[in-house]
Amino acid sequence: MNPSLGIKRSVSIWIRDLHLYAGLFISPFILVFAVSTILLNHAWKPWTRTAVEKTSAPVEIPAGLKSGAEGVPAAKQILRQVNVSGEIGFVRHQPQNNRLIIPVFKPGQRITISVDLTTRTAAIERTRTDLWSTLIYLHRTPGPHNAQAPRNWGFTQAWGWLADATIYLLLFLSASGVYLWALLKAERKTGLILIGTGVLSFIVLLSVLAR
């Protein structure tokens, strides 16, 4: 047997296996992104159900209250005291009202902590969202928002890595898929027609949209 043929065969077996396993790993992620794409593309929120809980708790006011990303360290101290976890959004320190507003986000929940700096009391409004809102939230996270502020919750960071990994693996699946198709002589003609049709429709769309 020709040794180069043996190498080629073992490479194609490796690529086929990697294609299979990478595809299986990212399949739930692809479903999340695909379903949320349809929701976002039509601004649909089917069967929107939310439940709001309101509680309050006394808090110690930390030093260094500020607005925006600079206010995150103090906001984190307050979150620990009121037992709330999640990604802190844009913190608003309102000295004129003696208030500190901390929005907190995580999949399935939106929390607003409004701290009265005079009475040292935190009003916590927790909105539990449904599955569809969770999918949309995950699709948009980390996203382009608040580019200057680093992510401040470990799980948001982890989702960012997983979202990136999904993209890199999808690119690998796409490239390895083309390689595996090229080995199938019986599918070459139809495949070429479909690649051609896809490329043509893509070019037509882009030539108008990106004009």
């Binding site: 296996d17 299979l20 396993y21 595809g23 299986l24 790993f25 990212i26 399949s27 739930p28 992620f29 692809i30 479903l31 999340v32 695909a34 794409t37 349809i38 976002l40 593309n41 601004a43 929120k45 709330v84 976890s85 999640g86 995580k106 999949p107 399935g108 929940q109 539990r128 599955l131 999918l135 949309i136 995950l138 980390p142 996203g143 382009p144 580019a147 799980f155 960012g160 979202a163 993209i167 999808l170 690119l171 699946l173 796409s174 898929g177 083309v178 198709w181 199938l184 599918e187 495949g191 690649i195 049709t197 896809g198 490329v199 429709s201 893509f202 769309l205 949209l209 990106a210 004009r211």
Partner: protein, 221 residues
């Protein structure tokens, strides 16, 4: 029903299903090749707003000019905007329409992935200021990822440009195509008995890690 069952369960039916499932998996992947690359790369750009090479806003071209127009014959904000766009030879998706009838001020934005316009028309003097912003290729990628003509925060917004509708349709088609590929792919893996063990481990890892975010984190305090 009783006549159909044996036919559906026949090995011939399954063979045909498996053949076509495999073919669809390949064909969809090939047809959507460039769409997948575009949304993957633009997804990375959106997730990494600090990547210097992909910055497009600081290098945008911004121009502004004035133009006179004939009073629109159409009534209603959208037809009026479309009338003015015809006169200015501008096309794209219209949004953020504001009409101050008392002062005769009519303003709207027109969006295309490369170019966006802000049009401020004075209906009394029949003159308009048109501000045009053009972005580079990274800006186009960025915009294409988000270009649907609708906003989750504003459910009343409707697509009004043919090409937005077509682009939005392609996004739907890609999403449905990916779902079909995923389900078909899982089915094909399950048919490969020697790969079931490791495949199950990898699939379980994917489901658990994704499930943690979809279902698990909402249970945290």
């Amino acid at each position: 029903m009783t006549e159909m069952q044996p036919q559906i369960r026949s090995p011939r039916f399954f063979r045909a299903f498996e053949t076509w499932n495999r073919k669809f998996h390949i064909y969809l992947g090939l047809y959507f090749l460039l769409f997948i690359w575009l949304f993957s790369i633009s997804g990375l750009v959106l997730n990494h707003p600090r990547w210097q090479f992909a910055q497009f806003w600081p290098t945008r071209e911004q121009t502004s000019f004035e133009q006179s127009f004939q009073a629109p014959v159409a009534t209603g904000n959208l037809p009026m905007a479309q009338d003015l766009m015809r006169q200015f030879k501008i096309d794209g998706e219209i949004y953020q329409l504001t009409n101050n009838v008392e002062q005769g001020q009519f303003a709207f934005r027109v969006m295309k992935p490369r170019t966006r316009f802000l049009i401020k028309a004075d209906l009394k003097s029949q003159r308009a200021t048109i501000e045009r912003i053009r972005v580079n290729g990274w800006g186009v990628l960025y915009a294409l990822h988000l270009f649907s003509g609708v906003r989750m925060e504003n459910p009343e917004l409707k697509r009004d440009w043919f090409w937005t509708k077509l682009w939005s349709f392609s996004m739907d088609a890609l999403a449905v195509g990916l779902v079909v590929m995923v389900l078909g792919g899982v089915y094909m893996w399950y048919q490969l008995k020697p790969k079931r063990g490791w495949g199950l481990v990898v699939l379980a890892l994917g489901i658990l890690s994704c499930g943690l975010f979809v279902f698990g984190l909402s249970r945290l305090p």
